[in-house]
């Protein structure tokens, strides 16, 4: 008899679902349930949360069928993208559109192999000029180009 082994892919997914479903149920129970005649705002999400928890079980069991390997996140690839988006969010209201454009494009270029900053700088310049002309000059959106 084979040992009962759950595929790590489904183990992580199933546990995350249990956690999410449980959190949804806990949160919904703070809203009014209403009555069965007139369900309140908490009733439906509570039920859906319970469904999520219930479905986590077949997902966990599926690890017995599924033999695919767990893919690991490649941090050196995704970190520059995350930082790029965060930098854009921080800069767009403070230093303006041009700085935000350079930040997101240059940081994203760090995810490529090999890293080619000159290409990225040209691309960022092009995009910044395009964005300023189209969105600020032509469409007059509420954006500032510089600080």
């Amino acid at each position: 008899m084979k040992a009962f082994r759950i595929n790590p892919q489904e183990l992580i997914g199933g546990l995350a679902l249990l956690g999410f479903g449980g959190a949804v149920m806990a949160q919904s129970s703070q809203y009014a349930f209403g009555t069965i005649n007139r369900p309140g705002p908490g009733a439906f999400p509570f039920g859906v949360g319970a469904v999520i928890c219930l479905l986590a079980i077949p997902v966990l069991l599926e690890g017995r069928i599924n033999k695919s390997e767990l893919a690991m996140p490649q941090l050196d690839r995704i970190l520059p993208i995350i930082l790029g988006i965060v930098a854009f969010a921080l800069l767009i209201t403070t230093l303006g559109l041009v700085a935000a454009t350079f930040a997101v494009v240059l940081l994203a270029a760090l995810a490529e192999r090999p890293v080619r900053l000159p290409t990225a700088t040209i691309l960022a310049t092009g995009l910044a000029v395009f964005a300023v002309v189209v969105f600020i000059v032509l469409l007059k959106l509420r954006l500032k180009a510089f600080w």
Binding site: V59, E62, N66, L70, R77, V86, A108, R113
Partner: protein
């Protein structure tokens, strides 16, 4: 002849300059992303969703749907010439299309693909024009119980039919429903899942969620995996383009069958263009007198699947427009575009906004004609575009996603939301959970709850009310049967490799 009168009215809507421009931009962009592998219609449609705030409802839908069906045309160009499917739905076209190109008949394959695509699309447009009004008159007077059951059936079907695991698909719908409930509850005024953030009171914006789930997560998955496509240089000569009499004779019936099966499969939720094209290919190969020719450049193997995937793409608009029930994530975005315009999706759309429905339908025809013009003479231009390296494409998309999210409401919070949903989509895909059902749940969740609560209110709290009506009971029974069926087939296929592609 009501239909002809309506169609004439539709063409007068679709022929207006702004609608024509929207249609042209849509199919042009669609062809472009169809040609580029690794860039799907979902990412681009979600990217353009914020722009549609500034368009009229007709123009918005005309453009977004143009992107969708245009990508079906574009995907086949690279399949045939480079053995590189631009979209999942054209991967089966590689099997015979690329051998044809190697034999110097790539031009013929392209022409036949375009003709087949056009015929398939026209078939489904006619089906849409005739079937949608019937469907609407069937569901127009649905009670809340019946509509609840119909939405539930649509969600179950869409999440169980296309992906490997039924449990994963359905649970993703449920997670999506929860995301859809974020914000003020219209019935009681209570704020739900907003954690004190004012930005969340209006609910999550579908454009933000879609840009994250499809745009950002696609970049996160693909960046750095440099496909070197700069070496591509293949040109198609003019003389190669003309199919022989024998080609036409061989292709006519496969195109007809492909259109028929494609339209049939396209109407079903969850089973989209990819399944349709594989199915049509299998039918041709099995019914052929010379099956050994398949895989070596049989023109039937190009014509049938291409007719089928375009027929399916157009047919998927039938449940979306007539019932308000999207069968795929792309169709969910179409409904999202409607909601942005303040139009509540459902059977009443056709009744209340006939201009929108018939105008969109007429634009499909115009768009398909434009695609024929764009595809054949310009094929060499599209191949040139393949040389655009990813190191330029990905940062550009990333930039436009950030800017698009921010300018929706000039809120930095939306940019962080995009990032959050991007990471969610990335991890879900790493764990091989399907992402598309999440978007379906997000769009349909609020409607599902509304009908559920009103049903109970009207039935005075009797939970059996959903089973007491024959129509809703039938829908629920079909939904249950689909779940049982997919569980059985999953257990039976436990040793086979799973299908990882997702229908978008």
């Amino acid at each position: 002849m009501d239909i002809l009168v309506n169609l004439a009215a539709g063409f007068s809507v679709a022929a207006q300059p702004s609608a024509l421009l929207a249609c042209f931009v849509g199919v042009l962009l669609g062809t472009l992303i169809g040609v580029l592998p690794g860039l799907g219609p979902m990412a681009v449609i979600s990217l353009l969703l914020p722009i549609t705030y500034h368009l009229s409802p007709v123009d918005a839908l005309v453009m977004l749907s143009g992107i969708f069906y245009g990508s079906q045309y574009g995907g086949s160009i690279t399949s045939i010439l480079l053995n590189l499917p631009g979209e999942a739905s054209s991967s089966v076209t590689c099997l015979d299309g690329h051998p044809m190109a190697k034999q110097g008949r790539g031009g013929v394959a392209l022409v036949m693909t375009t003709v087949a695509s056009f015929v398939g699309a026209c078939f489904s447009i006619i089906l849409l024009a005739t079937m949608a009004p019937l469907l609407v008159s069937f569901v127009k007077n649905f009670t809340d119980q019946q509509y609840f059951a119909l939405i539930l059936l649509g969600l179950v079907a869409a999440s169980t039919m296309s992906v490997g695991s039924a449990a994963k698909g359905i649970v993703m719908v449920a997670v999506g429903v929860i995301f859809g409930l974020v914000g003020v509850d219209i019935d009681s005024g209570a704020a739900r899942f907003s954690y004190g953030r004012l930005e969340l009171l209006d609910g999550l914006n579908i454009a933000v969620v879609a840009m994250g789930l499809f745009g950002i997560s696609e970049i996160l998955l693909n960046i750095g995996s440099n496909v070197d496509n700069t070496a591509i240089s293949k040109r198609v000569g003019w003389r190669e383009l003309i199919p022989t009499r024998d080609d036409w004779k061989r292709s006519a019936l496969p195109i007809g069958r492909g259109s028929f099966f494609g339209a049939l499969i396209g109407v079903l939720p969850g089973a989209g263009a990819t399944i349709a094209s594989f199915f049509a290919y299998a039918v041709e190969k099995r019914s052929s007198k010379t099956p050994e020719r398949f895989g070596k450049g049989a023109i039937e193997g190009v014509a049938a699947p291409e007719a089928a995937n375009n027929a399916a793409a157009q047919a998927s608009f039938i449940p979306t427009l007539a019932l308000g029930i999207p069968g795929s994530a792309t169709m969910a975005l179409m409904l999202g575009a409607l909601m942005i315009q303040g139009i509540v999706p459902g059977p009443m759309v056709m009744v209340n906004y006939p201009d929108l429905f018939w105008g969109l339908l007429a634009s499909f025809w115009i768009g398909n004609v434009l695609l024929v013009i764009l595809n054949i003479p310009l094929v060499n231009v599209w191949i040139l575009l393949l040389r655009v390296p990813y190191r330029i494409m990905f940062p550009t998309i990333l930039f436009f996603v950030c800017l698009g999210a921010y300018t929706l409401k000039f809120s930095v919070f939306d940019v962080y939301c995009v990032l959050g949903f991007g990471l969610l989509g990335y991890f879900l895909r790493l764990l091989s959970f399907p992402v598309a059902p999440l978007l379906l749940g997000l769009v349909l969740g609020p409607m599902l709850e509304e009908h559920f609560r009103r049903s109970l209110l009207l039935a005075k709290g009797n939970l059996w009310t959903f089973f007491q009506n024959p129509v809703s009971a039938t829908f629920l029974a079909i939904a249950a049967a689909l779940i049982v069926f997919s569980v059985i087939s999953q257990i039976r296929n436990r040793n086979k490799p799973r299908r990882e592609e997702e229908e978008v």
